[in-house]
Subunit: 337 residues, 2 copies
């Protein structure tokens, strides 16, 4: 066996391109003490992958020449470590490679769920949990409230939209382009969708929210956050989940006009979060959330939206294209199995 | 008797100047049904007076040609309304005039307190209550935490600094100019003071907060908010009280870089508030807060800081000078009595 790796050959100074990566084949890794040999089944492709190239955030900054970092799920191939046996399905962050020797402490066994393995990423993984805690805990949406979601067709956004409907909100989705907007209203079932690439975006957002905005779930920052701020109702809540508009650039834009002025006059709360904060040291909370998501799946109220590319060689394109808004739902790369 | 009024003759398009106001004497007002005739004792001079000229916020927008709006305390001269008798001390917002006929519903009787009447504005009025609720309720400061306060020598800021010390925080004050900074450390007793007009401001703020910033009480917005954001610790809280840096201008600046990016990576909460939200419909909460403030005054832990100008004709200058940072403590105009 060999291990195929995707190397981040050099850090981008502006937009990320496929040429920033290279492929290499190296000998099969050997598990050291406390390590487990795993075979990758899926890579999770996330906007956060690009954010890590901008410097240290909640994970260490990436450097050129390394195996590209990223969330992964796979299968244990060999293990001398108690608690892990060949054939176990595990999640971790061993990056863009087909095989890896991973410290057992950095692996989590997946709770078996009905349905294909990919659902572990689309319905029960970090993105779905981000939607769950970032919407339900951070903003506590109430029936009848208007919830606006940006990057609504994305991995987190589509789950936020679905959870918003479950919570009884009027859900207004923001996405890029008419095709995504049509999909959001016709297939996902949101109440309205607004195209932020359209020149009339601000006016269309106002029209889609005749009673104003009570909760805004922000995946993007920048001008879209600015537009939402102006539409917020008194005592509105903004969940700050990500800043996709600012990841794929060397020169981040200034913050939205209206911060902090509109926060004061409208008495708004903006809260940033990282999903792990809600269950680190409290793993039962994570399982509890996953069980609630599973119950909604069983009840037909929540469905997976997946965007799968085939083969590890596709990973660089999968990320570059995601940053350009090419995905609908949870993007992942199917590696094997 | 005549009534001397200060008229906002025209709205400023950029910086406010004394020339935007004019004085006029009109006949003594006559109380209509449900109204009380009051004589003004003090005008409260606040940065918010300028904000109201920018458009509707939580109060109606000001228009040129009106009596200048503003908080007031005074004495009942004549009343046929139950609950108000000549000689009663009342607070309200009848604006910059020496006499007024005011709807009784828009008056509140002052709870008698020891000390001069001006303490009703400096220690128990809206500014002190803003400090009280905006610090203690919005951010819940803990002993040993680092609290940074901007416009720290101002009416709200000086009380926030004092309440921060009472809460057991390390208090770092931000103010404009070396004189205010010296006063803050030497007289008010904060742990450190940083001059935002100094070229080395950002570095000095970092040096004054060796353990980072847990709580930031923001009176100013703009670049100072931007600097504080970069120094915040994980899970820090920002109380958004005002945006003084953006009131006295026709072209508000963009928001701080780092919104919302730093909110996400540092898991920050920013919350705007208006003090009335904490006690409107619940007047007992206001009295409770005032009683706690009074107990700290009695215990020698909280003291009034007042900046009084004499005579209603001084009101325009009092506001223009306040917007330029000319005040230390609660600015008011003593009108009579």
């Amino acid at each position: 066996m060999t291990n195929r790796q995707v190397i981040l050959a050099e850090l981008p100074t502006d937009r990320l391109e496929v040429g920033h990566f290279r492929l290499q084949d190296v000998p099969d890794p050997v598990a050291g003490p406390g390590q487990v040999l795993v075979a990758t089944r899926y890579l999770s492709i996330d906007a956060a992958n690009r954010a890590w190239m901008q410097g240290a955030t909640y994970t260490s900054a990436l450097e050129g020449g390394q195996v590209m970092a990223g969330g992964t799920i796979g299968e244990v191939v060999e293990s001398d470590v108690a608690g892990f046996t060949a054939g176990d399905l595990v999640e971790g962050a061993w990056g863009w490679q087909t095989r890896a020797a991973v410290d057992a402490r950095q692996l989590h066994r997946l709770t078996p769920r009905p349905g294909p393995l990919s659902h572990q990423l689309s319905l029960y993984g970090t993105t779905a949990l981000t939607a769950y805690f970032g919407l339900l805990e951070v903003t506590r949406p109430q029936p009848g409230e208007t919830l606006v979601v940006s990057a609504a067709a994305g991995a987190v956004g589509n789950v936020v939209c679905q959870l918003g409907k479950i919570a009884g909100c009027r859900v207004v989705a923001i996405a890029g382009g008419p095709a995504k907007c049509a999909w959001l209203t016709d297939e996902l079932g949101v109440d309205a969708a607004v195209d932020h690439r359209d020149g009339g975006f601000r006016k269309a957002l106002r029209a889609a929210c005749p009673d104003g905005i009570d909760v805004y779930f922000d995946n993007v920052g920048g001008d879209i956050l600015g537009a939402a701020l102006f539409g917020m109702n008194l005592h509105g809540r903004i969940s700050c989940c990500g800043v996709v508009s600012q990841y794929d650039t060397g020169s981040p834009a200034p913050g939205p006009r209206g911060v902090p002025g509109l926060l004061v006059t409208k008495r708004l709360t903006m809260r940033g979060f990282i999903v792990m904060d809600f269950y680190d040291g409290e793993p039962a909370r994570k399982v509890e959330a996953q069980n609630e998501l599973a119950a909604w799946v069983d009840a037909g109220k929540l469905r997976p939206v997946e965007d799968v590319m085939e083969g590890i060689d596709a990973a660089p394109h999968a990320l570059v294209d995601l940053l350009a808004g090419g995905n609908v739902g949870k993007r992942m790369v199917h590696v094997a199995g």
